[in-house]
Amino acid sequence: MAQAAQRLIQRVATQAPQLASAAVTYSRPRLATFWHYAKVELVPPTPAEIPKAIDSMKAMVKSFQSGHLAQLTVKEALRNGLVATEVLMWFYIGEIIGRGSLIGYNV
């Protein structure tokens, strides 16, 4: 029993660094890919882009007022719905960060 425990500890001590290095080599190219896309797509807006955002919001409101809704294809509407859902999910992620727990409030 003690010998088996000893052997186990020996095996863990020799193989843990191997596992760690294997995990690093596995994840490095994937992390590089993720960073390659995240650098462009997930970056927060620079202060110069905020007036552009306000302008596009005004243009959107105006187009809704001028009846452009009738010419919206279903495909476009679905795509816009997906984008809006994704933006909504960022609110819930912010709530998770704000309350400090993954599920529910730890009061």
Binding site: R28, P29, Y37, P44, V107
Partner: protein, 94 residues
């Protein structure tokens, strides 16, 4: 631009080569409106979570305090009832 993938480690047989694309799609230029709304939704969510947590915390503590007081009272009553029952039962094993 097509970026060559540094996938030397992926050619090992022990890892499944899931990312089979040889060329990477260039990253999408996200519109500033979407970026702005995303990050403002994140900020609003963080504020909402924090304020709701600060509101719920004292409420829960109050509830716990009341619960523990009522539990003490209930246990006291139960203890009295148990002693009365023991005193009034007829048994020769006293």
């Amino acid at each position: 631009p097509i970026i060559p993938r540094g996938g030397g480690a992926l050619s090992r047989a022990s890892f499944p080569a899931r990312c089979g694309v040889a060329e990477m799609v260039p990253p999408v230029q996200v519109s500033p409106l979407i970026k702005f709304t995303r990050y403002s939704a994140l900020l609003v969510g963080m504020l909402y979570g924090k304020t709701r947590y600060d509101y719920l915390k004292p409420v829960a503590e109050e509830e716990r305090r009341i619960e523990s007081e009522e539990k003490k009272k209930r246990e006291e009553l139960e203890r009295i009832a148990k002693e009365l029952a023991e005193a009034s039962e007829d048994s020769i094993l006293k």
